[in-house]
Amino acid sequence: MAIPISYNIRNVMQRPLTTLATGSGIAMVVMILIGAFALASGFQAALVETGSTENAFIRRTGADSEISSGVSRDAANIIRALPEVAVGPDGRALVSTDLVVLTNLERVGQTGSSNVPIRGIDPASLALRPQVKVADGRMFTPGTDEVMVGKRVSRRFKGLGIGEQVKLGQQNFTVVGTFTAGGSAFESEIWGDNAVLMPALDRQDAFQSVTFRMRDPATFAALKKRLEADPRLGVQVQTEREFYASQSQLLASVLRVAGVMITLIMAVGAIFGAMNTMYAAVGQRTREIAVLLTLGFTPFAIWMSFLFESVFLSLIGGVLGCLLALPINGITTSTTNWSSFSEVAFAFRVTPLGMGIGLAFAAMMGVVGGFLPARQAARQPLAATLRAG
């Protein structure tokens, strides 16, 4: 028969200070693990959500990012005239031939500068990206030297506030509005009319990418095959979502790996702490254990009981860690995505999966930490302990 768990629970409650200390140690480990996953998830979400599965994204063959790609005007015109391109509410093809370059701007409040993407779009193609919504001010007027700025970069860089002027290339542009884009990477960009930006930045002969809404997304595979085989174009085709997911992969996995490695090392330290606590607990309760054995509980039951106590203690720490990690959710930060060489601002995203992993990790720490002490408790020689004290 198993020892009732109320025994363990009561014991844990009876040593509040020790429980709190060990629990806090484990809580910190769990919190950092969840935090690392939140960082990676947030970054990945920002990028993946940028793209839609209904949009086809086209850049030059062999280019591994948007900025190193070049799609000629001729190729762009051929793509624009394709039958697979959907038509917008105004009757025009829903296509955007984008100019994408980087400009190096100074940060606000932090020394140093970073590369901020400038995207010159076809103004009529705003419907292509429905997640983009003007937040403050207004959209830029096509054909003028106005730009609108993603909300995330508006605050972080000098000269990007509404009404301010920013020099892009040879020309000064006025910021007339900020926009949100569902937390996606677009929010880290400056948008303007490509007809005005291309001459200003002296990038007249080619676009960096062409994006269009597919009339029938189910035919994507056939479309991809056809376009990639067309010798006039020399392009690679993906869904917009696929492209942005691939751009996020490198950094996200680096963040995750780094997070897991740090957490593992921390966990070893925390496990040592948990082990210490459990050994001390077992040491203090030798007479209780002897009594339990006398009552007829098997050594195995004792082993399980102490193992449970260790896991219980760790889970308390785990839950505490989850609670501590929750406020991190939504904090924005930014870093340079080396895949695209440009800065991406994103928000920490604490997911249920992340928290689940954290709790499982806490339980595992409890099992590993409690295993040996519990075994020692179970192997206690009965008579000796009753006699001693």
Binding site: M28, V101, G273, E343
Partner: protein
Amino acid sequence: MNLFSLVLVNLFRNKRRTFLTMMSVVIALFLFCALRGVLDTLESSIKVGSESRLVTRNRISLIFPMPQSYWTRIAAVPGIKSVSLQNWFGGRDPVDPKNWYAQFAVDAPTFFPIYARDVEITEFSPPQVQVAMPAGLDPKLAAFMSEQNACVVGKRLFDKNKWKIGQTVTLAGTIYPGSWPFVIRAVYHAKDPAFGEETMLFHYKYLEEKGMGGQGQVGVYILELSQPERAGDIAKAVDAMFENSSYATRTETERAFQAGFVSMYGNVPYLIGVIGLAVVFAILLVAGNTMMMAARERTAEVGVLKTLGFQDGTIFAIVLAEAAIITLGGGLIGAFLAKWGLQGSGFNAGGFLPPMTVSWTTVATGIGIAVLMGATSGLIPAWQASRLRIVDALRRVE
């Protein structure tokens, strides 16, 4: 029996607990120093780069080029000894995309002399044909100079990929499309570790003809100064020359240029610093608590010691010493493990960081934290033990 052996005996009485506690401290300090070490590494990578070399790039951002015509114009600015150029190639290994390394197209006759103090050629092909070598260029580069698609690779990169001199390495261009074969004609060792040994350098002419249709544009200009103390003025003079052209420039010291890359990491280093602190706090909390628990267990013993005649002050010292040995010992081991283990092995996080350094300041801070922790978790039990009345100590029932 002297006091020290008494302390040691106490520590060894429960070897397992002492070991576990000490290991916790070792790990906490190791992690703290390792994470801080990342910050140190990033900071020291800013301090590399000469202050007597300037880098000129397009003012808009690094991805915009500059015309070749700037070359002679910049060289004519007073105070400039020599001008070279460098272009980022951005090629990819077609066989193993994860095998990433930097490739640069450079103008060898000017580039290598500028970096003569930082780079030395260790292995090289003997030249097949006699070729007139420009002045100041290492004669070991003769074979490299005689072949258009020859390249020089860093020793680390060379070893990592197990290449051989004379081997052809083919890359797929991402910015300049197509298949690009390079023949390895020399290997360099970076005397200044900041230069990096995981780079491939090849002829700018090759890039210009094959990738730019003969109309070369330049990524960055590297300026070696004959008057390094006038660096600021010279930089301004260069930028003023091109102020109103369609390719306005931005000239800064090499050090500032490198610092720009580091600043691109944004907030991440700050977060790492925060994690470092959290880690230490967490684990030390547990270790401290354990030590306090241990001290509490020994009240009866303290009573006996006092009966035997040990003074209050002595008891205080003994208990404190035990805590100090564990924390200081663990702290020293952890900090030095980080310093010599990580720094000594040149750990570079798979190429994402420069080879790691852990500064002495970090080590000292780590040890300081360990001492502080030892003091806090040792002081209270030590104080309690020293004030304990014999009667109370012996009365306690375990």
